[in-house]
């Protein structure tokens, strides 16, 4: 049986503000609850997921936060340090060269270096599966919004095609193998029932599949509204302007959801609707129930 939750690396992305972090956190909680050792990563995101799940202390080092769940907030400097030390092994040389103010400054501008070391760290953990230290059964990445996510995920490919052979391009080879293996890796695209997010989901799908050769395993339509009222109901509400207005507004939202579903069907991947949440804050119980809905819908 091979559903989405059997992929070892889930890449969650979409337009800004569509609820990527919510979906990533829900997936991770669900996988951990199923007894799978799960790593939830965010990318230089101000520890947003940590705050959402009640673990604000999680930083650039992988930390075990609860049963079967570890978290990390990837940061370029820390990932760089880890990477360099794995290559040159001499703390002394690292400090002398890479902690030099000028060098740090310079390295910020080497294209793709920050992305390579951050993505490399995640994929290193993926490679440690099943039993090596640092190995996890599942890794969920809460990626940045579309453009930045594509830059990040495209790094191994651009290194392989653009760079002469060298240390960075040899790293890129194995990274590319993992990212493009549909048995291992799958993208989960989050969208909203509005025109722009749907446009972006369609474009993102195309970029992932044709340009980066990354499998798109599921589309999650967040804040979906299901139709509740028919024409007969509206006629029954004649003379009740307040309720008629309420019903019209509601059904307009449902219509937008249908329109989005219609367009997203073109993607040819399982499409899952998550209901619109009405609470002022997203609490853990909502994440857990969203996780269950995701698992159910994406089996």
């Amino acid at each position: 049986m091979s559903g989405l939750l059997d992929r070892r690396l889930l890449l969650v992305t979409g337009k800004g503000g569509v609820g990527k972090s919510t979906v990533a956190a829900s997936l991770a909680l669900r996988l951990a609850a199923a007894g799978l050792r799960t790593l939830l990563c965010e990318v230089n995101a101000d520890r947003r997921l940590g705050r959402m799940l009640g673990h604000p202390e999680v930083g650039p080092d992988v930390a075990d936060v609860e049963a079967n769940l570890s978290m990390v907030d990837l940061q370029p400097d820390a990932a760089m340090r880890e990477y360099v030390l794995s290559k040159i092994r001499l703390e002394r040389v690292y400090r002398a060269v890479f902690e030099n103010r000028m060098v740090r400054y310079f390295l910020r501008f080497v294209p793709a270096l920050a992305e390579t070391v951050m993505l490399g760290k995640v994929l290193w953990h993926l490679r440690q599966w099943p039993d090596a230290p640092g190995g996890f059964d599942r890794i969920v990445m809460d990626l940045p919004a579309t453009g930045h996510a594509l830059t990040l995920l495209g790094v191994p490919q651009s290194l392989v095609s653009a760079l002469p052979s060298g240390p960075m391009s040899s790293e890129a080879d194995w990274m590319l193998d993992l990212l493009t293996d549909p048995v291992i890796t799958s993208a989960v695209l989050v969208s909203l029932p509005e025109e722009l997010p749907v446009n972006e989901t369609l474009e993102l799908t195309d970029a992932l599949r044709t340009r980066l050769r990354i499998r798109v395993g599921a589309v999650v339509l967040n804040q979906s509204v299901e139709s509740r009222f028919g024409p007969a109901d509206l006629s029954a509400l004649a003379g009740r302007p307040g309720l008629s207005g309420l019903v019209q507004t509601y059904e307009e939202d449902a219509r937008r959801t249908e329109e989005a579903v219609e367009r997203l069907r073109a993607i040819d991947a399982p499409l899952l609707r998550l209901p619109r949440l009405v609470r002022p804050e997203i609490r853990r119980e909502e994440l857990v129930s969203l996780g269950d809905a995701l698992a159910e819908g994406l089996r």
Binding site: A45, I88, V97, P111, P167, M168, S169, G242, L246, V247
Partner: protein, 372 residues
């Protein structure tokens, strides 16, 4: 009902920059702001990035060009809108703007070398801050050349407020990098032939870095920096001008926000950063606020039978909860951003893609309508 108004701002400013996180409706509001300024008699130009196709169509931007186009008065009249001054709109093509900048600024002999260099490709498309930089660079140009009295700039979606405001400095750092010179100076001065030798003779630092990023990459970067070094003075001057423009009293910022918890935190951080830099915060616009269902709805439930009544009750409860959530969000935003004027715009039943809806959104910006 009337509320706070941006009228004074629309009459006075030369430049309005709409900032905020992605997905809050910046582009649409930028268009509404420009339209209302034109209605007040100031010719206005809205400079958008990646608008929804339907919005582009509504504005008559069928040709997605990199230059201002006037929104036709017939199109406007068709929507029942009469403006007292011309309204122009344009799409900002970031890559084309970069190419254009290099075409204009690079010494003739270096142009192709720069445009084809892989580091230039990264700089113009992927380097953090480069999109923001070129948007600002273009703004500077428009400010100098456009005949519009008000320029409204929509900005790229930015994860961190600082990415946007620091863009001129960061890109300038890249092009005029003291550190790069320190590291690569021997290579920069060397001829192509001896570049590699010079580089590898360049000491332990270059050597160690080469082990990590590759000697060829280092060499290529050196070559790129060599090619652009002739442009540094011009870049510096432009970046200084852009920074000055942002801080100038003729420029104001509109922070577009959402009332939901995540959007709200980003907005508060952005607001604080603008303040720290001494930039003028003209308004916080909270977009897509869920309005309260009419109070009459409860009484209207009387006499309805199940299951309709139950479904209505549930729907009503959810609508109230959503509006309650947004009210709370607005209160927290207002507390955190006072005394910057805060304007709330309701979530419209349909997305704002036609001129009438833009006009309607504008009525909240001018305080002709209010929801609180």
């Amino acid at each position: 009902m009337s509320g706070p108004s941006l009228e004074e701002v629309l009459r006075r400013r030369r430049v309005l920059v709409c900032v905020g996180a992605g997905g809050v409706g910046k582009t649409t509001l930028a268009a509404a702001v420009a339209m209302r300024a034109a209605a007040l008699g100031r010719s206005a130009l809205v400079c958008t990035i990646d608008p929804a196709r339907r919005l582009a169509n509504a504005l008559g931007l069928t040709w997605l060009g990199n230059a201002p186009t006037e929104v036709s008065t017939e199109v406007l009249a068709g929507a029942g809108i009469q403006l007292a001054a011309p309204l122009q709109a344009m799409m900002l093509d970031l890559k084309a703007s970069w190419d254009d900048l290099i075409q204009r600024q690079a010494p003739p002999g270096q142009r192709d070398r720069i445009l084809k260099n892989r580091f230039y490709q990264t700089l113009s498309t992927a380097l953090a801050g480069s999109q923001e930089y070129i948007a600002l660079e273009r703004l500077g140009q428009l400010r100098d050349r456009s005949d519009a009295e008000l320029i409204v700039l929509d900005t790229p979606p930015t994860a961190h407020a600082l990415d946007f405001l620091d863009a001129p400095s960061r890109v300038l750092d890249f092009l005029d990098n003291e550190a790069a010179r320190w590291l690569l100076d021997p290579a920069l001065r060397a001829s192509r032939l001896s570049l590699r030798l010079a580089l590898w003779g360049g000491g332990v630092a270059a050597k160690t870095i080469g082990r990590i990023i590759g000697g060829d990459t280092l060499e290529e970067l050196a070559s790129f920096l060599g090619a652009v070094s002739g442009m540094n003075d011009r870049f510096r001057e432009r970046a200084r001008a852009v920074r000055a423009l942002l801080a100038s009293p003729e420029t104001g910022f509109l922070l577009v926000a959402g009332a939901t918890p995540e959007r709200r935190e980003e907005a508060l951080r952005f607001h604080a950063v603008l303040g720290d830099r001494g930039l003028q915060r003209d308004g916080v616009v909270v977009n897509r606020v869920q309005e309260e269902p009419p109070a009459s709805a409860d009484a209207e439930l009387e006499g309805l039978s199940e299951p309709l009544r139950g479904t209505l009750l549930r729907t009503l409860g959810e609508a109230r909860a959503l509006s309650e959530r947004d009210r709370l969000g607005i209160r927290l935003l207002r507390d955190g951003t006072a005394p910057t004027p805060l304007i709330a715009i309701p979530r419209f039943p349909a997305e704002i893609h036609d001129l009438r809806a833009l006009w309607r959104a504008g009525s909240y910006l001018l305080g002709e309508a209010a929801i609180l």
